[in-house]
């Protein structure tokens, strides 16, 4: 295994991580371009399998999901997950996209990391992405009557938004 020293601790290099992870699921896209971390893009149908393997495999052991970001890339909606291992201290970024803007649906990961419960509700609230098997998927910040999803790029609110 390729190792490098960070803060006097041996961590897997991005290359070693990529070799290991690509052996689990074939159709993953890896890139380090424009980011300080290794980025994986995964198809929605493989998301849950990849995530549970990233957490449970002892070599990767990504047990700390520290950031869940909803994204609107224009044509596609999606989520960016930032993962860290508290034992190995390596960081990885997982991206998932869905082209369906009318009814975007992804699998939940809150059975893997409990923190995903609130984070996915926030993403649902602001981007309208639904999460399969989420135990309590409802709006978190906005009221239930709120129409639309404010952090989408095509959201319009002439009264409350100041456009420069």
């Amino acid at each position: 295994m390729d190792l490098m020293k960070v803060n006097n601790r041996a961590v897997m290099t991005n290359e070693a991580l990529q070799n290991l992870i690509s052996s689990w699921i074939p159709e993953l896209e890896f890139t380090e371009e424009g980011s300080q971390f290794l980025n994986i893009t995964v198809q929605p149908e493989n998301l849950h399998q990849l995530m549970s393997e990233l957490k449970s495999n002892s070599e990767t052991n990504f047990d700390y999901l520290f950031c869940v970001t909803g994204m609107d890339w224009g044509s596609a909606l999606g989520v960016i997950y930032h993962l860290e291992s508290t034992t190995h201290r390596h960081i990885i970024v997982v991206k998932v996209k869905t082209e369906d803007r009318e009814n975007p649906t992804l699998d939940t990961v809150c059975d893997i990391w409990k923190t995903a419960d609130f984070h996915e509700r926030e993403v649902f609230d602001f981007f309208g992405i639904k999460f399969n098997n989420h135990p309590n998927l409802k709006r978190l910040f906005l009221t239930d009557e709120w129409e639309g999803f404010p952090l989408r790029k095509d959201y319009v609110d002439e009264i409350n938004m100041i456009i420069k």
């Binding site: 424009g34 047990d63 520290f66 950031c67 609107d72 201290r89 409990k114 404010p150």
Partner: protein, 372 residues
């Protein structure tokens, strides 16, 4: 009472509303409690009363303007929040700030942490019925705010950091006043211990209450003193040092009990460590410029940038997705309070309402940090 008497009473669950205007929720946070007698069955936080959608506002603002929005999140860690955005922008621009800036940022960051913990300690005592602590905590916090006022021009929402350095150089009195404060506060923490930590009633309210295991702490994304009270080493200053934190030695405050008392003691210990960090730096502030020039309109290169810092509440993350223009395409704040609040239900279920108030005080929630 024998068991036959107990079964004569019917046990029924009902809802009770706590907040949004409740002194123990420290801001506009509403909790929907499911109660059986006085035993809590479920705690459901209702958020959004003061949500301003800072993330959406950032998409139309310049990077200099974004810094000013961040101290309206966790207003007790305002300097560290500002630093987080500045570091992200500087890293993206590959801008090396002078050593002087790094040291001053770290000193003020640690002063901010002490000020925040002073306030927390005051209201922590108040939440469990000891009003005196409130005045003691605020008395000492006031001294730090005076230092900030002199150097930054503001006491709370400081805006002292700008991308590229500091807004202006430190006040000539800064070094001496900070040293005076450190000397003063070293005599005060033992007073805090005598007044509250060693109090028998307080100990009984805290010990063994609101227990969070290490596995759950990691799974819930706990950070800051909440994580470290469960023996989870999560100090960003240790694992991903920034500014001048790689030049100082300090111990990460860790406790393994995972109860309310452990989280309390971690914060007390952190105040000692912060004093130690300040002492190591205050006599060695390097000479030099207090900023490097940046363009009036900052454009970040195309790409994604992430920076984490340790605020008084835990790990604050800033994620910027830039398309190369003067505004971020998407900016996400990973706030510590949001993840820490999500575990409230877990530690409160099975306890009493009074214990919920005490446990919540040890989570040290600041609502604008959650309602970003």
């Amino acid at each position: 009472m024998d068991t036959t008497t107990v079964t004569n009473f019917k046990s029924e669950e009902y809802f009770i509303n706590m907040g949004p205007q409740h002194p123990a929720t420290h801001g506009v946070l509403r909790l929907l409690l499911t109660i059986d007698g006085e035993i809590i069955r479920k705690v459901e936080p209702d958020l959004g009363y003061i949500h301003r959608s800072i993330e959406k506002m950032c998409e139309r603002d310049s990077y200099q303007q974004i810094v000013h929005l961040t101290d309206r999140m966790d207003y007790l860690s305002s300097h560290i929040n500002n630093e987080a955005v500045c570091l992200t922008v500087e890293n993206a621009l590959e801008l090396e700030v002078p050593e002087r800036v790094k040291v001053i940022r770290t000193i003020i960051g640690e002063l901010t942490r002490i000020a925040s913990h002073c306030l927390w300690w005051g209201v922590m005592g108040m939440d469990v019925g000891a009003l005196t602590t409130y005045f003691y905590g605020f008395r000492d916090r006031e001294l730090i705010n005076d230092i900030f006022e002199e150097t930054c021009g503001a006491r709370l929402t400081m805006n002292y950091n700008i991308p590229g350095g500091l807004m202006f150089d430190i006040h000539p009195n800064f070094v001496q006043r900070t040293k005076d404060f450190v000397a003063h506060f070293k005599t005060k923490i033992p007073e805090y211990d005598r007044l509250l930590t060693d109090n028998v009633i307080f100990q009984k309210r805290m010990k063994g209450v609101g227990i969070l295991s290490k596995e759950d702490a990691i799974s819930f994304g706990a950070s800051g003193p909440v994580g470290r009270g469960s023996g989870y080493s999560c100090d960003v200053r240790k694992h991903h040092p920034y500014s001048a934190l790689d030049k100082v030695t300090f111990k990460e405050a860790l406790k393994t009990e995972g109860d309310s008392l452990a989280r309390y003691e971690v914060r007390i210990q952190e105040m000692w460590e912060s004093l130690s960090i300040i002492e190591q730096l205050i006599d060695n502030i390097p000479e030099g410029e207090h900023k490097v020039a940046t363009k009036a309109v900052i454009k970040l290169p195309k790409g994604e940038f992430y920076q984490k810092v340790e605020t008084a509440r835990g790990e604050l993350g800033v994620f910027i997705d830039s398309t190369g223009t003067k505004n971020p395409y998407r900016l996400k704040f990973r706030s510590p309070g949001f993840s820490n609040l999500s575990l409230l239900n877990h530690i409160a279920v099975g306890g009493k309402i009074g214990d919920l108030v005490a446990s919540m005080a040890t989570l040290d929630i600041v609502v604008p940090d959650i309602d970003r």
